[in-house]
């Protein structure tokens, strides 16, 4: 393949995606920014999308690659539904495995999809939370954070996670993490979306802002 057609570095990028399981499902969150280097280029992007009635995928990294993956998965689902109406849709686990194969094949061709994908699903009274990275590495966990979230949010999520976490607790915890990320990650803006994956299906909230305080910075030595 022509080397000029490969993704050698990501261009428009999305930052962290956070996810945590709670007692009746999963909460996933991300901001809406697509950065072009350090430029806040696109400020109203949705980085999480519903691919079946039970499964949501979210991702950080190159936005165009992410949208490509979303399309690939959507057409896969379409292929597998077709005229056979009774046919059970693909499970979240199957979708994760499929994405992992796509990512692994692309990395093996030295033409990776530059993303860290988070797959969240709820099917047959069971929640599924997994991730796939640029190499095709995949794993499942109770809490997952991609991008800078792996350093800033993951420790907080792990600390706050417990088996019987309620939805409100989970949302509060996620919001705290988003706030920390907004304060410290320069590629995050104060415009977030929270998705809920549960028995009732998938809902992705409208973008909202979190209350932040910067006045304390005046006390900081050297701050103008």
């Amino acid at each position: 393949m022509d080397p000029t057609k490969k993704t050698l570095q990501p261009y428009v990028t999305g930052s962290s995606v956070l996810a945590i399981k709670y007692n009746e499902g999963i909460i996933v969150a991300a901001d809406t920014l697509g950065s072009y280097g350090s430029l806040a280029r696109f400020t109203d992007l949705q980085r999480m999308s519903k691919v079946t009635n039970h499964t949501l995928i979210g991702g950080s990294g190159d936005i165009s690659d992410l949208q490509q993956i979303q399309k690939t998965v959507e057409s896969l689902i379409l292929e597998n539904t077709g005229f056979k109406k009774d046919e059970e849709p693909l499970t979240p686990k199957e979708i994760q495995q499929y994405i992992s194969r796509v990512m692994y094949n692309r990395r093996s061709r030295f033409d990776p999809l530059w993303n860290h994908i988070i797959v969240a699903g709820y099917q047959n009274n069971e929640s599924f939370l997994g991730a796939v990275d640029i190499f095709g590495t995949f794993y499942e966990d109770n809490t997952i954070a991609s991008g800078f979230g792996a350093y800033f949010a993951q420790p907080l999520l792990r600390k706050g996670y417990k088996e019987d976490l309620t939805k409100d607790e989970a949302i509060d915890l996620i919001k705290t993490c988003l706030k920390v990320l907004f304060y410290r990650d320069a590629r995050t803006i104060n415009k977030f979306q929270i998705a809920e994956v549960s028995e009732g299906g998938i809902t992705i909230s409208d973008p909202f802002e979190l209350e932040t305080h910067w006045e304390i910075a005046d006390w900081q030595e050297g701050h103008l």
Partner: protein
């Protein structure tokens, strides 16, 4: 003469392209594996920690593959390559089963693994494997590999991030190296002794190796099949 010139012209822009930064397709997710064989059994163990850089991405990774009732594979290295290798082996064993109506023997699997790794000699699967089980005679066996398929039948082996810490312990405890008290260096340990040794060895390893920890999966392969145990390690 003209041909040479032409080819030179053609090669010029190519070398320019090659100088572009290339995507590096490998990562190491770390982790340790070990295998010890007894007279009529083999014990294999691997931890469940998966790391990316200095982050722990999950404490519950599975790096093993139960191939048959007589054979288990444990692997460390790059998780994506490990999974791919495991998928290939699973498929190959199913094809073998379909064609021969019997499972593949452990020594045959050891060669299949070697060939599968060597097939990717020039774009290796970044995996460090220990294969073990019982052979056709019911004797315990362990096979040690490098990433490109070099194969050796051994009495014990370790691979992965903690291998440098595990190997000397096994040398002493299983290989009876530097043991004045033991004259018969060809003897085997008993099954429960080996299981305890595997646990102790990995517990010690994760004291010093930050990439090993969380849990251990232990597999005991003997004439009754494969027995699985899970054992806790340090969480930090």
């Amino acid at each position: 003469m003209q041909l040479i010139q032409q080819s030179k012209q053609e090669s010029l822009p190519k070398s320019k392209e090659i100088n572009q930064p290339q995507f590096f397709p490998y990562t190491n997710n770390q982790g340790s594996c070990l295998g010890i064989c007894g007279e009529k059994f083999a014990v294999l163990a691997t931890d469940t920690r998966m790391s990316m850089g200095y982050s722990i991405v999950t404490r519950n990774a599975t790096k093993y593959l139960k191939l048959t009732d007589k054979c288990v594979l444990v692997s460390s290295g790059m998780q994506a390559d490990i999974e791919t290798l495991h998928k290939i082996l699973k498929a190959r064993l199913t094809i073998y089963q379909n064609q021969h109506q019997k499972p593949m023997s452990t020594p045959a699997i050891s060669h299949l693994l070697s060939r599968t790794l060597y097939y990717r000699r020039f774009f290796p699967l970044y995996t460090f494997n220990v294969l073990g089980g019982i052979d056709e005679d019911g004797k315990g066996c362990v096979f040690s590999y490098d990433a490109i398929g070099t194969l050796e039948r051994v009495r014990y082996s370790a691979s992965g991030s903690g291998s440098a810490l595990i190997e000397p312990i096994l040398d002493n405890q299983v290989g009876f190296k530097n043991r004045g008290d033991i004259t018969d260096k060809t003897g085997f340990l008993e099954e429960d002794e080996v299981v305890e040794l595997a646990k102790d060895t990995l517990t010690s390893t994760c004291e010093r190796d930050i990439f090993t920890g969380d849990f251990v999966h232990i597999f005991v392969v003997n004439e009754n099949g494969v027995r699985e145990e899970k054992f806790e390690l340090r969480f930090d």
